[in-house]
């Protein structure tokens, strides 16, 4: 079903949500950055889309650091574990289409072939009110990745910004239930509303200045035809920061370590990145990806062919553009695939 809510009334719905549910939304920091956050007292929810939030939505489902369990040893004779609490219900308001697509990618990844129950439960217990972007940021290229700026599924409610009001695409029973709770604030959508949405979709597509040739990238990967010079140039630029993995909605690599100070402690998992040389180094010292070029190849193949296309049947990139912003040295996805189309730029200088 489709309903409409005036923007002047929308604030009341947000307040109500913040009041009686656990609400996650993009907030504006005093640094001017946008960040997805649990909405607490005094925070300013911001649904502008000219900037993409600093980090993706994944940290609410697959956390930057979280306990797998707590342990207590009795010498070496015995041990006991305590599990962290079960996930709770949450509402995620204002998650961008690209980020929601990323969450659905995570859902598929953590479900099969073995199920990570905590991640899956967190996703299943979240009501998604996604935000389709009426205008993109210069770094965005979701249109090239079948990731937006408006989706046909994956959300409970999708907000379409029509200027003075939101058209809400309501897809699920959960979404409908929420709408009926605020029936005094909404009205059914009309033909005019729907037409405005259609023309908005056409307009916004043209507003994307960054055209990334994902098809070229996928093709080059599949044919294994990326010139060696491309890898060596990237290798000399990449500083191995790992930032691309941390900001990426579909990156899922993690490290596991025990922390303890005596007989008690915790086993945590933390975000990790295949860009780090230590990621594949074995206890013997042998490292199958000792060269940076090998790690870069791995990253791009993973995103553009293997894991995604072969295993998941979809592209491993949602075009959110965060790697474009987070990579200080132009080794981001967009630059990479564009280069493959235009070899010139990567000839290097000497």
């Amino acid at each position: 079903m489709q309903v409409v809510i005036e923007k002047k009334d929308f604030g009341r719905m947000v307040d109500a949500l913040a009041g009686d549910r656990t609400l996650i939304a993009p907030i504006e920091l005093d640094t001017g950055d946008l960040l997805y956050s649990y909405v607490l007292e005094g925070m300013k929810v911001c649904l502008e889309t000219d900037r993409v939030p600093l980090m993706s939505a994944k940290e609410f489902f697959f956390e930057s650091e979280e306990p797998l369990f707590y342990f207590q040893r009795e010498g070496t004779r015995d041990w006991h574990l305590t599990l962290p609490p079960e996930p709770e219900e949450r509402v995620f308001l204002g998650i961008r289409s690209c980020d929601l697509k990323g969450v659905r990618y995570l859902q598929q990844f953590f479900q099969e072939p073995l199920k990570d129950e905590t991640v899956i439960q967190r996703i299943e217990k979240t009501l998604f009110i996604s935000l389709g972007c009426p205008k993109p940021a210069p770094s965005c290229f979701c249109v090239c990745c079948d990731g937006g700026p408006f989706l046909n599924d994956g959300f409970d409610i999708q907000l379409v910004d029509l200027g003075d009001r939101f058209l809400c695409d309501v897809l699920t029973a959960g979404g409908e239930a929420l709408v009926s709770e605020h029936s005094d604030l909404v009205r059914p959508a009309t033909e005019d509303d729907r037409e405005e949405k259609t023309s908005l979709l056409e307009k916004v597509d043209r507003a994307f200045t960054r055209r990334s040739y994902m098809a070229a990238g996928v093709k080059a990967m599949s044919l294994d035809s990326v010139p060696e010079k491309v890898w060596s140039t990237l290798e000399n630029r990449c500083i191995g920061c790992g930032g691309c993995a941390f900001v990426c909605p579909t990156c899922t690599c993690f490290n596991v370590l025990d922390r303890s100070d005596g007989p008690g402690g915790v086993r945590v998992r933390t975000w990790d990145s295949c860009s780090y040389s230590g990621f594949t180094r074995e206890a013997s010292g042998h490292n199958p990806r000792s060269r940076k070029a090998e790690r870069l190849k791995r990253r791009f193949y993973h995103k553009l062919s293997y894991q995604s296309l072969v295993s998941a049947g979809r592209l491993g990139c949602v075009g959110c553009g965060r790697c474009v912003l987070a990579c200080p040295v132009l080794v981001d996805m967009s630059t990479f695939v564009t280069t493959l189309r235009d070899d010139e730029a990567y000839r290097g200088h000497g």
Binding site: L29, D30, T31, G32, D33, L35, Y38, R51, L54, M55, E59, F60, E63, S64, E65, E66, S232, T233, E235, N236, R237, I239, G240, C241, G242, G243, F246, N255, L257, R259, D261, T270, W271, D272, Y276, S277, G278, R281, L325, A326, C327, P328, V329, L330, G348, H349, G350
Partner: protein, 627 residues
């Protein structure tokens, strides 16, 4: 302000806390609206906060009683330190006391230490570890009038870039970032480095200079331009001093081909905006560094890039507050315009190296160290430290130095407090706490304040911003950079006005022609060892080794040799070798690489805490032995 500044390199990225669902800080996120970080961080920045949460943090003051260190209260620790200082002043005089500050501590911490030393104790023996690497370069740039005016923005907008003696991708990644953006705009890049670094591999010109001979290519370029009639009559005296400069000889010494010198000099003369990034690779010894920097300023001067819009010199590769520590007077060759604390006399005391000498000779009786990695694990330094009348150490982790101390004060990390750091652009930036202070730790400035009050001074600072405000009133360069402005200036405040600079004619026209010949290694120590850095290990690694993913990156120290040299030494890939120098040695595996020039050896300094000599010159004559 709920954001801080990364405490590793001198870029000064603005970082925000990243929290788990439970509200615990689990990492850092870069701010995007910041002129340095611009949404990026390096591998250190993403994980920096982890060390502050490490269980090895010092959590109680300690004092030595009957030969053993025991926990004590703050009052007891402060009184012991104050009493110890009073005793030494009485018995030996204030000139037997030295203070060592830190290029990693804030402006306020270093300022108060300088003030404590000069105004309260009455000694001018105050310096920081930066004396061994970056301070001499900053001194020389300042002296020549070519103060570091370059900003990261200028790097990106320049049409010619020099990166001299720095593996920029690791040491100042955000500067490297701007270099790559400049390359996209077709800027020309010159990298001067004996080894092929990542940046050198993408450069238009890679000058594989023989270490320590940079004056030869710099003068060579000047001579080329002068002889080609490309410089104007203003530079007459300089031209005259170079009239007998032998280009063929220069080529032979520095191993930069004459044609390269000519080409690059010409390109530089034509460039409209040139930025020079200078690292510690130019070090050879004492005076030579000073003259090398002066020659670079001369080169920038005669090619029209001194103090002109868009051009500049930037010192890269330092710590988060190398610039600030230097500005606060943590330097023997202080900027004359810094008058020092109100009651102090700005006379010259011992610098870091001289303090070590005085320590070893037994002349020094008391040492106060704040946040410095003084290598205390080996003799003779270890023994000398043990025999001081008083050794006070402020730090965040226990180490060999704190173990020897008479009094240990547990400091708060930068993540737990506020203050200001000055980055490589001379951008002064406020940092605010993102963690609750670890219980029973205190900020460095606060510890110094307590100590000063215990010595009956009027250090009545209640809040760090009061110190910031005093700096704003006392340090000419920091005038008007008060705490109120800083706290609101998320992007910091640039403290050097970028504008037309008049060269200090005295310096630039002066001859300084005596070129100390590059000491060629030979005899007992026939190879020259280059030290370098792996980005995962910062300094001696006391912080970076306590960050999981960085510790995982760091590999054991390895000596790199050219295959030809290795062959003649009988060294194979992976075999164990002993690197011996005049005052020590270290055993590591060897690796063969054509990236290492013949006659040189290369060892990234990781996990060699204490094994390198106290004055880690950039190059060291060594002998390689098989084990």
């Amino acid at each position: 302000m709920k954001a801080t500044i990364c405490p590793f390199c001198s870029c000064g990225c603005r970082v925000l806390p990243r929290r788990s669902a439970a509200g615990k800080v689990v990492g850092l996120t870069p701010s995007r609206n910041h002129p340095v970080s611009m949404g990026s961080l390096c591998m250190r920045g993403w994980h920096a906060v982890e060390y502050a949460l490490h269980r090895d943090r010092l959590t109680t003051p300690r004092v030595r009683k009957n030969g053993r260190q025991v926990p004590c209260s703050w009052d007891e620790g402060i009184e012991r330190a104050a009493g110890g200082l009073r005793d030494v002043i009485e018995k030996h005089g204030p000139e037997k006391i030295a203070f060592i500050g830190s290029t990693r501590c804030s402006n306020e911490d270093n300022y108060l230490m300088t003030k404590l030393a000069r105004a309260v104790i009455g000694t001018s023996n105050v310096d920081a570890g930066g004396r061994l690497d970056f301070f001499p370069i900053l001194d020389a740039v300042e002296e020549a009038g070519g103060g570091a005016e370059a900003t990261l923005e200028r790097i990106e907008a320049a049409d010619m870039l020099f990166v001299i003696g720095s593996d920029l991708s690791g040491s100042s990644p955000m500067a490297a970032s701007r270099v790559f953006r400049a390359l996209e705009r077709h800027a020309e890049l010159v990298v001067v480095d004996p080894r092929p670094t990542a940046l050198a591999n993408l450069a238009h010109h890679h000058l594989r200079v023989y270490p320590g001979t940079d004056r030869y290519w710099m003068r060579g370029m000047m001579a080329c331009l002068i002889r080609a009639g490309r410089t104007d009559p203003r530079f007459g005296p300089l031209a005259k001093s170079l009239s007998h400069f032998s280009l063929p000889h220069a080529q032979e010494v520095c191993q930069v081909p004459l044609t390269t010198m000519e080409t690059v000099a010409e390109r530089l003369a034509r460039a409209r905006k040139a930025v020079f990034m200078l690292g510690t690779g130019i070090h050879k010894h004492g005076e030579a560094t000073r003259h090398t920097v002066h020659d670079l300023v001369r080169l920038s001067w005669i090619t029209g890039h001194m103090g002109t819009q868009g051009s500049g010199i930037m010192v890269v590769g330092g710590d988060n507050n190398t610039q600030g520590a230097w500005d606060m007077g943590m330097s023997r060759h202080r900027n004359e315009s810094f008058p020092g604390p109100p009651e102090g006399k700005p006379d010259q005391g011992m610098d870091y190296a001289q303090v070590i000498d005085a320590l070893l000779s037994g002349e020094l009786r008391a040492l106060y160290v704040m946040g410095d990695d003084l290598p205390a694990s080996q003799n003779p330094l270890r023994e000398a430290l043990s025999t001081l009348d008083l050794l006070v150490v402020q730090d965040i982790f226990r180490n060999d130095l704190t173990d020897l101390a008479t009094v240990v004060f547990p400091a708060s990390s930068s993540f737990e407090r506020a203050g200001s750091f000055t980055n490589l652009e001379r951008r002064v930036q406020w940092f605010g706490p993102i963690l609750d202070p670890l219980e029973n730790t205190r900020p460095d400035w606060d510890i110094l304040g307590s100590l000063a009050r215990s010595l009956n001074s009027d250090f009545l600072f209640q809040d760090v911003s009061e110190v910031t405000d005093e700096i704003a009133s006392q340090v000419p360069r920091y005038r008007d950079i008060d705490s109120a402005r800083l706290k609101k200036a998320f992007n910091g405040i640039l403290c050097a006005a970028a504008g037309e600079r008049e060269p200090q004619n005295g310096i630039l026209a002066s001859q300084e022609n005596e070129m100390v010949p590059a000491p060629s290694p030979g005899g007992e120590f026939p190879l020259l060892l280059l030290s370098g850095r792996d980005p995962s290990t910062w300094g001696t690694g006391n912080r970076s080794s306590r960050i999981t993913l960085l510790a995982r990156e760091a590999t054991p120290a390895t000596l790199h040799l050219h295959p030809d040299d290795a062959k003649s030494l009988g060294v194979k890939q992976g075999s164990k070798v002993r690197t011996v120098w005049s005052s020590g040695m270290i055993e590591t595996p060897a690796a063969l690489s054509e990236d290492v020039p013949r006659g040189l050896a290369y060892m990234p300094t990781q996990r060699v805490d204490g094994a390198f000599p106290l004055r880690p010159k950039r190059t060291l004559p060594v002998r390689i032995e098989t084990c």
